[in-house]
């Protein structure tokens, strides 16, 4: 099972941005959402989640504000900004290209070895 360190550099950013594209969430929510959607394959360690959130916030791609959670607790919600949306598109494109390329290489490789 991939651990957070196995995530490609920058992939975590993409996952967070994608998750936040649907709705604003707090840190815990982001981690849970990614885990659920990936069917427990991707588990985001909190040790890297919060630094990543801070980094994205400093870059101006997401914005944090305090709100109250489902169970009425004070929590910090992250929301995608316009710059973040643009960034997400760019990252998606890069990812698509990259994964397609990797798939190509793997496919060819598989044919050669079979």
């Amino acid at each position: 099972m991939p651990t957070p360190t196995d995530l490609l550099q920058g992939t975590l950013d993409l996952l967070i941005l994608q998750t936040l594209a649907l709705e604003p969430l707090h840190g815990w929510g982001i981690a849970q959402r990614i885990q659920q959607v990936s069917k427990d394959v991707l588990q985001i360690g909190q040790g890297s989640l919060y630094p990543a959130l801070y980094r994205l916030e400093y870059k101006g791609w997401i914005r944090a504000e305090w709100g109250s959670s489902e169970n009425n607790r004070r929590a910090k919600f992250y929301r995608l900004t316009a710059a973040g949306r643009k960034r997400l598109e760019a990252e998606r494109e890069t990812w698509d290209r990259l994964s397609a390329a990797v798939a190509l290489v793997l496919g060819k490789h598989a044919e050669a070895s079979s």
Partner: protein, 880 residues
């Protein structure tokens, strides 16, 4: 882009609040715990696992913090503050380091400001590296020159140069206006400025038609003269001024940066206005100094090779005795300009680099010593999570903080030091008075100190502590010891080199000062005059002026002797001719070669009395000789020995111009033999010399004269009195009055300056090395305290302990001294040009330098050694 920058700036200025992150993480842990409780874990266990998953609140907080833009900058600020706090805690250490750096950086910067111009700065001409000085070299004039008889042939037929140009020297001239001033007028060829690539700031250059005999007189003036005399008025161009009484039109102003290629002072440029056809025919022709611009890509060596046929032509023209001794040269203009000081400048540069290295080594060794003492602290910081890069960064920041302070103090110190240099420097040092600490020098300082800082920050930071420093009691700092011992040995070696150099120059200077001049220069005043061309057009009038002046002065109060000559020993200008042109009646001339130079002067009879030069044979010139038809000469003792080889020269006839056409070589009667006098400066040997009597005949006189007065009056009063006496004859006559003492002292200025500089560096180097040695020894002594305690507990006496510490220091000092002597031996050859009557390998100097260094080193180690011996074994053993 702008929004990103604004975000960056916002977060840089307003850091996030710490508790915000705490709240967020708290919420996270709570949620995590709840979900684990929902999975069936007990609340306590759920919370424990949630915390484990988070992996440490503090670490997470740290990593979030690191995302902040400018975080790195913050750590530098933090390190800087930390460093300052640490320096305040240990002021002795900080002050030592600061002083060391101040000395090192200050000396380096001030010397760099001096040598910068000489070694590195471009000359104020266009593409100055393609400019060369071209000319003949002969024993009478070791710096290259040209002669009119050859120059124009060279100019017509040379191939390697784009252009060849010349100047005919600088002579005093008078600007006769409301306030007459004496100026320096340089005569140059009309292509002089274009060849150098200099354009007048106002007006134009000379036209070829203006550089002819009897052409209308024109002149270019210097920027300084334009400013001081004409208030930078542009309408000066076209103005008619009187130069030496002749109407001259000003046609332009030179740039402020302009200087003559040979660096003579020049206020006015006038055309050479030579009769080229006559010069071509003449032999040897007017002396000229030639400069040329090389063609693209040509080197001086190639140019020299291409000039070989032209040189052969010149050789044909040279009189036979000269042919073997004449050479020619083509060399870069910079080499010509800094002929004498080039070497001195490099030596200076080397010295100061040695001092800077000593200073750097010192700071490095102090820092490593301190760092070794802080190993435990470092180990604690590493254990708390500081990475090795972070520790290294802190070390570099610490040394940067130190060097920044040191550089600041150093620049201040350099400014002061430079003032002192300029104050004590002789006039001959080109550009010294203009040297200042400018941005280039600052850049150099910053570079030097940054290299220093990063260098020793790395050295001290790299050897950072392993974890076991926390547990181990022994072995602290032992790994650093070797490095530091090598540094100290290197310092000792470098300072021995400096000390030996300083002592060599001091000895040389003392030899120079105690030179016997062969005359008495106390209570002698000289006044140099040059009579203007309009007021004194012929020799009869010139003679009349000088004779009246002599009469007026002779009967003045307290005057013992008055003489008029055309030059005075021991240094400076005098007339010269080759020995081969002298001949004793009835003896053959010298068969081949020039026979070297013979100095000579025109003098009046009292010359020998005025300067107290003893007459060995004969009575010298008498007043009766003055009216005589016959000519008289007094020979110096060495010249008499050479010409007459032991026979009595008195009354014999000699010829002084036997190369001249028949009829122009009258016989002179030898009237006496005078003792030898230094006549080539203090260091050079004395040339054979003779004195011609200036009789009461116009043919013996010319425009120039030096009035020599011996008197018991105080110099100041005498100077004023002489000035009024001269003014009473001609109030507009510029005159330079100096005591002979001043002139002699001035000759020693250059060596004194060199001695003081090298002495200063030797002292600075010695001081720094001693600080380094003391620091390291006392540090090692403290390190070995437990060992000393055990030794003493086992029965070692205090003497044994002192011996132990001294032995340790000896192992650093002894190799340092040995290496230093070897280095000094190898390097002192470079000084040989500056030394007088001291061999560069003078054993006394080396022995003395080593002894001084050893003594100082002993003193520096004795204090910590005695301190170590005071250790109470009980206390140290308990400490661990």
């Amino acid at each position: 882009m702008i929004t990103r920058f604004m975000t960056w700036l916002r977060y840089l200025l307003i850091p996030k609040k710490r508790d915000e992150l705490d709240d967020e993480l708290g919420f996270h842990i709570e949620q995590s715990t709840q979900s684990k409780v929902a999975q069936g874990l007990s609340p306590a266990e759920a919370r424990r696992q949630a915390l484990i998953e988070l992996g440490g609140v503090e670490a997470a907080r740290e990593r979030c913090d690191q995302q902040r833009p400018g975080w790195w900058f913050g750590t530098v600020v933090q390190d800087f503050r930390f460093a300052l706090r640490a320096f305040r805690r240990n002021p002795a250490f900080s002050i030592t380091v600061l002083l060391t750096l101040m000395l090192g950086i200050g000396s380096t910067s001030s010397v760099f400001s001096v040598v910068d111009r000489i070694l590195f700065r471009p000359l104020p001409y266009q593409d100055s590296d393609r400019l060369v000085s071209v000319g003949l070299v002969a024993p009478i004039e070791p710096q290259e020159f040209m002669l009119g008889g050859s120059y124009y042939e060279w100019q017509d037929h040379q191939k390697p140069f784009i252009a060849l140009t010349s100047e005919a020297g600088v002579e005093p001239c008078d600007l006769n206006e409301v306030n007459p001033v004496r100026l320096d007028c340089a005569s140059v060829e009309n292509n002089f400025l274009p060849t150098l690539g200099v354009t007048p700031v106002v007006g134009r250059n000379f036209l070829p038609g203006e550089d002819r005999p009897n052409a209308p007189r024109v002149a270019l003036i210097s920027f300084a003269l334009w400013r001081s005399r004409f208030q930078m008025d542009r309408s000066v161009v076209g103005k008619i001024v009187k130069i030496d009484g002749k109407s001259t039109q000003v046609i332009g102003v030179l740039p402020a940066s302009f200087e003559m290629p040979r660096l003579q002072a020049a206020d006015v440029l006038v055309p050479e206005a030579l009769d080229v056809a006559a010069q071509r025919r003449s032999d040897p022709g007017r002396p000229l100094w030639a400069f040329a611009r090389l063609k693209q890509g040509a080197t001086p060596e190639q140019a020299k090779a291409e000039l070989a046929p032209l040189f052969d032509y010149s050789l044909q023209l040279a009189p036979a005795p000269f042919r073997k001794e004449v050479h020619y040269t083509v060399r870069p203009l910079r080499d010509r300009q800094f002929h004498d000081v080039h070497q001195a400048a490099w030596i200076l540069f080397g010295l100061v680099m040695a001092v800077l290295l000593i200073a750097c080594a010192n700071v490095a060794s102090l820092l490593t010593a301190r760092r070794a003492g802080r190993e435990r602290e470092m180990a604690v910081r590493a254990a708390l999570g500081a990475g090795s890069m972070r520790l290294l960064q802190q070390a570099v920041v610490e040394s940067l903080a130190l060097t920044a302070g040191g550089a600041l103090a150093g620049v201040l110190f350099a400014t002061i030091l430079l003032r002192v240099f300029i104050l004590i420097a002789p006039e001959g040092m080109p550009f010294l008075s203009a040297a200042k600490v400018d941005w280039r020098v600052l850049a150099f300082t910053l570079l030097a100190s940054a290299l220093c800082a990063i260098g020793f920050g790395m050295v001290s930071g790299m050897t950072h502590a392993p974890m076991d420093a926390l547990t181990s009691r022994r072995g602290r700092g032992i790994r650093h010891a070797r490095l530091r011992q090598i540094l100290v040995a290197a310092q000792i070696a470098a300072s021995l080199v400096l000390l030996a150099g300083g002592m060599l120059l001091t000895r040389s200077f003392r030899n120079l000062e105690s030179q016997k001049l062969g005359m008495n220069y106390q209570n002698v005043l000289t006044a140099s005059l040059s009579l203007g061309e309009t007021a004194y057009p012929d020799q009869a009038q010139q003679m009349a002026f000088f004779e009246r002046l002599e009469r007026n002065l002779r009967w003045g109060p307290g005057i013992n002797a008055v003489a008029i000559s055309d030059s005075v020993p021991p240094g400076g200008y005098h007339r010269d001719q080759i020995y081969a042109s002298l001949r004793v009646d009835g003896q053959p001339r010298l068969a081949s070669g020039t026979g070297g130079n013979v100095a000579w002067r025109w003098v009046t009879p009292d010359y020998f009395r005025a300067l107290n030069i003893p007459l060995i044979q004969g009575s010298g010139f008498t007043d009766e000789d003055l009216a005589s038809e016959n000519r008289f000469v007094v020979l110096s003792s060495s010249l008499a020995d050479r010409m007459f080889s032991g026979q009595n020269p008195l009354g014999r006839q000699v010829h002084l111009a036997s190369n001249a056409p028949a009829g122009q070589d009258p016989p002179f009667t030898v009237a006496g033999v005078a003792a030898d006098v230094k006549n080539g400066g203090l260091a050079a040997g004395e040339e054979p010399e003779y004195y011609r009597l200036r009789r009461n005949r116009a043919e013996d006189w010319d425009r120039g004269g030096v009035v020599i007065v011996r008197s018991n009056l105080p110099a100041g009063a005498l100077k004023n009195w002489m000035r009024t006496q001269i003014a009473s004859l001609n109030p507009t006559l510029p005159v330079e009055i100096r005591t002979l003492q001043e002139q002699v002292t001035k000759l020693a200025d250059q060596p004194r300056f060199e001695m003081l500089l090298v002495g200063y560096f030797a002292c600075a180097g010695l001081l720094l090395s001693v600080i380094g040695l003391y620091g390291v020894t006392s540090f090692l002594a403290v390190q070995r305290k437990p060992e000393v305690g055990i030794r003493m507990a086992l029965g070692a006496s205090r003497i044994d302990i002192v011996r132990l510490v001294l032995g340790g220091a000896g192992r650093m000092v002894a190799p340092g001294i040995v290496v230093g002597i070897a280095l000094a031996f190898a390097l002192s050859q470079a000084l040989s040009g500056l030394l007088f009557n001291v061999r560069p390998h003078d054993p006394i100097t080396y022995f003395g330098a080593a002894a001084i260094l050893a003594a100082v080193a002993l003193a520096a180690t004795l204090i910590p050694a005695i301190g170590a011996a005071r250790v109470d074994p009980i206390v140290t053993l308990r400490e661990d």
